[in-house]
């Protein structure tokens, strides 16, 4: 009884690591650029496919591939920013949402055209091994993704709160005009932030590849959940993302374990939670 409980908790913790990593970039883009990037999930998908092809063609371990996956998406997002995003920054917020929706649908369907819709998986030696700690048994691969997530999130916080660049980013997030007045190059900060956010998505994609696999349609489920998480955390609240990920992953894991046939219902729990959080908040403040 207790064993199952602890095992569920461990699964939830690992899942929340992936959720937090996938959501942090989205929260960064919302918090700093004030745009809602609906293509975030497809950036994650691109990262997963970069890691997949590096693994298949060059035999590079997908965990190592998080570096090239992040780099590719960092560069690609720069192009996307210059060509499209920067033109809608001052337009009504729905324009940016619809634009990124368009980018996402395009990337997803291009991936279907180029790679086919079939899911892909990678095989590594450590995917079959597990670590046992008392009653809890955790696969090495999921554990590694948790370590990567925690390291990267800690790194992101360190950059944001301990470096000059982080200070500039936070200044721009707080007040675009004010930051411009004190001499910050707002456009460059936006470009950089969007690049970091997109790279985080791609790295999360490589992590998902290790644990589950890659498919052109994988992004959508993640972006929906990432939205749920950042909205629950309060838009732009980076620390909130951590606990929201934990709450939602835990709710999901427990429904999956304890509700009979709960695999499908777990998805609904996620959206029910976000739905009621939003509604409750709107009625409380009204």
């Amino acid at each position: 009884m207790m064993d199952l409980f602890l095992q569920t908790l461990a699964n939830a913790l690992i899942q929340s690591g992936t959720y937090a990593l996938a959501s942090a970039g989205l929260a960064l883009a919302v918090g700093v650029l004030h745009i809602v990037n609906f293509a975030h999930g497809e950036f994650l998908m691109v990262g997963a496919f970069v890691a997949y092809w590096l693994s298949v063609l060059a035999g590079i371990d997908p965990i190592v591939s998080l570096v090239p996956a992040g780099a590719v998406m960092f560069a690609a997002s720069g192009v996307i920013y210059q060509a499209s995003i920067r033109r809608v920054l001052l337009a009504p917020e729905l324009n940016a949402l619809l634009l990124t929706f368009g980018i996402g649908i395009t990337l997803q369907n291009l991936a279907v055209l180029v790679f086919g819709a079939t899911p892909r998986v990678v095989h590594t030696a450590y995917q079959l091994t597990a670590v046992t700690l008392g009653p809890v048994s955790v696969g090495v691969a999921p554990l590694m993704t948790l370590v990567v997530s925690v390291t990267l999130l800690a790194g992101m916080y360190a950059v944001l709160y301990r470096t000059g660049i982080g200070k500039s980013i936070r200044a721009v997030a707080q007040n675009r005009t004010g930051a411009h007045l004190v001499g910050l190059d707002v456009d460059r900060i936006y470009l950089l932030t969007f690049g970091i956010a997109s790279a985080l998505a791609a790295i999360a994609g490589a992590m998902v590849l290790v644990r589950i696999g890659a498919s052109p349609h994988m992004g959508f489920g993640f972006v929906l959940k990432a939205f749920a998480i950042i909205v629950m955390a309060g838009l732009g609240n980076l620390t909130g993302v951590l606990w929201a990920s934990l709450v939602l992953a835990t709710a999901e894991a427990f429904v999956r374990t304890y509700v009979p046939g709960g695999g499908g219902a777990a998805e609904a729990v996620f959206f029910l939670l976000i739905f009621f959080t939003l509604v409750w908040r709107s009625w409380r403040t009204a």
Partner: protein
């Protein structure tokens, strides 16, 4: 522009009579899909005029479709089952609207998206003999499945949506919707009953979407949770309206004619991935033509009239 509406109607009435040889059936089928897309996109647009971006069309479309199918399978006369579609969708939207219409912008969009996903899962997880689970149900066809008859029924559905859209456009509601979209606070100060008006737009749009869902099912003969409640439906609705021109009656219809024909054409060439064209069009329109296709027309007629 005055002749465009009646001319389009005449063309629509003549579609099944076009001598297309062996392609006759195919032409009518594509035209039927255009009607469905146009009805859903225009219904979405009516609601969007209040400034609320809903991502729930798929939920109301699916509720209409399932209401029709489940009632028809239980021996309810088909015309009654057909009318249950818009009634159920409208009733559910009333409840959803009451709790969510206090939300704004992105929060509202996400809440409606979450709602649509929850409804989809519920229909997938309900007992098999009730909703057919993930496999869905086979729906009894209306009019004995007569293709031409069903085409004209679809045209009737679209004309009803067009009539509602025009009625809204040419009544005081138009000013109320526009005022709310441009600033709720100002609208309230001007004496617009903001919550009631937004709710009216939401329920009207949902009922019409439910009607389109019931109709589509009577034409397609099946419901499947992943397709009938699919997010793709909501995306198509808003992309179609934006491409054609939001806040207009002609825009979503024009958008549906072009996009759906294009989609069917591409589907013949590419078996999958053809939806990329929706993405590219959405991007280009937002960047270069925020008013949609209709704005091109309006710009030209304004120039001809010496500008205003």
């Amino acid at each position: 522009m005055r002749w465009a509406g009646p001319a389009a109607l005449v063309v629509a009435l003549l579609v099944p009579l076009v001598p297309a040889g062996g392609y006759q059936q195919y032409v009518v089928q594509v035209a039927t899909f255009v009607l469905i897309n146009a009805a859903v996109a225009l219904a979405w647009d009516i609601q969007a005029r209040t400034g609320q971006l809903s991502l729930a069309p798929a939920a109301f479309f699916g509720l209409g479709a399932y209401a029709y199918t489940m009632a028809a399978l239980r021996g309810v006369p088909l015309p009654v089952a057909f009318l249950l579609g818009p009634l159920v969708a409208g009733a559910v939207s009333l409840g959803l609207g009451v709790v969510t219409l206090r939300l704004h912008g992105l929060y509202f969009a996400i809440a409606t998206l979450a709602f649509a996903e929850v409804v989809k899962v519920i229909f997938k997880e309900l007992p098999l003999d009730l909703t057919g689970g993930a496999v869905g149900l086979t729906a009894p066809p209306l009019l004995g499945g007569h293709q031409t008859g069903l085409y004209y029924l679809g045209l009737g559905v679209l004309l009803l949506v067009v009539a509602v859209s025009l009625a809204v456009r040419h009544s005081r509601l138009h000013y109320a919707f526009t005022a709310i979209r441009q600033g709720e606070l100002t609208a309230r100060v001007l004496g617009v009953r903001v919550v009631a008006t937004k709710l009216l737009a939401f329920v009207l749009s949902a009922a019409l979407t439910g009607l389109a869902g019931a109709y589509a099912t009577s034409r397609l003969f099946f419901v499947i949770p992943e397709d009938t409640f699919g997010i793709g439906l909501s995306v198509t609705a808003l992309a179609t309206a934006i491409f054609g021109g939001v806040y207009t009656t002609a825009g979503p219809v024009l958008g549906a004619i072009i996009l759906r024909s294009l989609e069917e054409g591409l589907r013949l060439v590419l078996r999958e991935g053809y939806l990329a064209v929706y993405g590219v069009i959405l991007m280009l329109v937002i960047l270069y033509l925020p008013g949609g296709l209709v704005s091109l027309w309006n710009r030209r007629s304004r120039d001809a009239a010496g500008g205003d």
